[in-house]
């Protein structure tokens, strides 16, 4: 791609006036649109399509939710190692030792209000982990029902 084409591409990117930021705020909608219209030029620039970048814990939550959103409890013997492997296939995050969490419930409990009843700090962290996923569900989820079910969980945990 020569510089003339690049200049043209940049002009095109800037043609969409809804992506102009004038005040002190912008919206999720604008963010998503901006990322979407970039994908073509990225291909031409030789950016290989890459897995979305997402923190490890959030990646785990997406995988767990997609696999088990429709069951009340995790089946016995669901190992974090397996979730880790699946998460790494879908998302990009730094590989490191898994020391902080022992079980899948510690990452993404089935009944978070009870699970975090006596630990406000952990509950707050969990809530923050969910909020980003709920806001950007279309970027991270492949199973729509799982995304919806996570949204319900998020609503619940905001209230308890």
């Amino acid at each position: 791609m020569n510089t003339k084409e690049i200049l043209q591409h940049l002009e095109n990117l800037e043609a969409d006036s809804t992506l102009q930021v004038n005040g002190n705020t912008y919206t999720w909608e604008q963010v998503k649109l901006a990322q979407k219209i970039n994908s073509d030029i990225k291909k031409e620039l030789g950016f290989l399509p890459s897995k979305p970048k997402l923190s490890r814990r959030r990646a785990f939550i997406v995988i767990l939710e997609e696999l088990y959103y429709d069951v009340p409890d995790y089946p016995e013997g669901v190992a974090l190692a397996m979730i880790h492997k699946r998460a790494a296939q879908r998302f990009t995050f730094a590989q490191r030792a898994l020391k902080g969490f022992d079980t899948v419930s510690e990452v993404h409990p089935k009944r978070p209000c009870t699970f975090y009843e006596n630990n406000a700090l952990k509950k707050m962290n969990y809530r923050r982990a969910l909020s980003h996923l709920v806001e950007f569900q279309s970027l991270f989820f492949e199973v729509e029902k799982a995304a919806d079910s996570l949204k319900d969980t998020y609503r619940d945990i905001l209230l308890c």
Binding site: T3, K4, L13, E14, T27, F47, K53, S55, G100
Partner: protein, 235 residues
């Protein structure tokens, strides 16, 4: 209310993050490392970790600065939590500390690679332009006799014909840098988002090539300026 139309506040980068001193140094290091590490061969990552902590690389420094702005924009509760995590940390790089790394990854990296990616891109351009220290051309560029469209075209052609052969992403960075220079308040998210992507992916490359990049920018610009001045009587 439609959730997509929820508002996000612009990152306030006017704060003096130098006041933080070394309080959040490890956090900023972890941030820069996490942002770029997957673009390196696994065997190169430990070296990169050390470089991030010890070396003075322009785009890496910019990235750390951006992390400090993210921190300074956090609410009180989050910042307290981070402060405690840092205080408890006894590890060499911080990255070994699971709780600290999780926090940085979730609260800072996830933001900078999604909804604040375009702000990261814009910050990188500002950093580049500020680092040029070329005030001598200011009056010429900003004069009414300068046709910005022609200037950009000439600038792009000069980049193409310059001695150094750059990758397209470098050209894109430099052209967008000039666009930013011509009108810093133009905030089109798509273009900045793209810059955010390419800076994140090429953090080390852009750092190492910073001086040749600056020269290419200045040279292409000064040649373009002499040819982009409007002819004819002043209006």
């Amino acid at each position: 209310m439609d959730e997509d139309s929820l508002k996000i506040s612009l990152l306030d980068t006017s704060g003096n993050v130098e006041n933080f001193g070394d309080t959040y140094k490890k956090t900023a290091d972890i941030f820069a490392y996490l942002l770029h590490q997957e673009n390196l061969e696994p065997s190169r990552r430990p070296v990169f970790l050390k470089i991030v902590r010890d070396e003075d690389l322009p785009m890496v420094n910019m990235t750390k600065e951006f992390a400090l702005h993210l921190i300074s924009n956090m609410n009180e509760r989050e910042r307290k939590q981070l402060e405690l995590l840092q205080k408890d940390d006894k590890s060499e790089y911080g990255i070994e500390n699971e709780a600290l790394t999780d926090f940085v990854e979730m609260e800072l990296v996830d933001a900078a690679t999604s909804y604040r990616k375009w702000e990261y891109g814009k910050y990188a351009l500002r950093y580049f332009i500020d680092g040029l220290h070329s005030s001598e051309s200011k009056s010429v560029i900003d004069s009414k006799n300068m046709d910005h469209k022609i200037l950009l075209e000439k600038f792009s052609t000069n980049l193409n014909n310059g001695e150094e052969k750059w990758e397209p992403f470098v050209h894109l960075f430099l052209i967008q840098a000039l666009k930013y220079r011509l009108n810093p308040s133009s905030s089109n998210m798509a273009a900045y988002d793209l810059i955010g992507d390419l800076v994140q992916k090429n953090l080390v490359y852009l750092s190492i090539k910073m001086n040749p990049l600056k020269s290419a920018f200045k040279e292409s610009l000064s040649k373009a300026m002499t040819r982009a001045r409007r002819r004819g009587p002043k209006r």
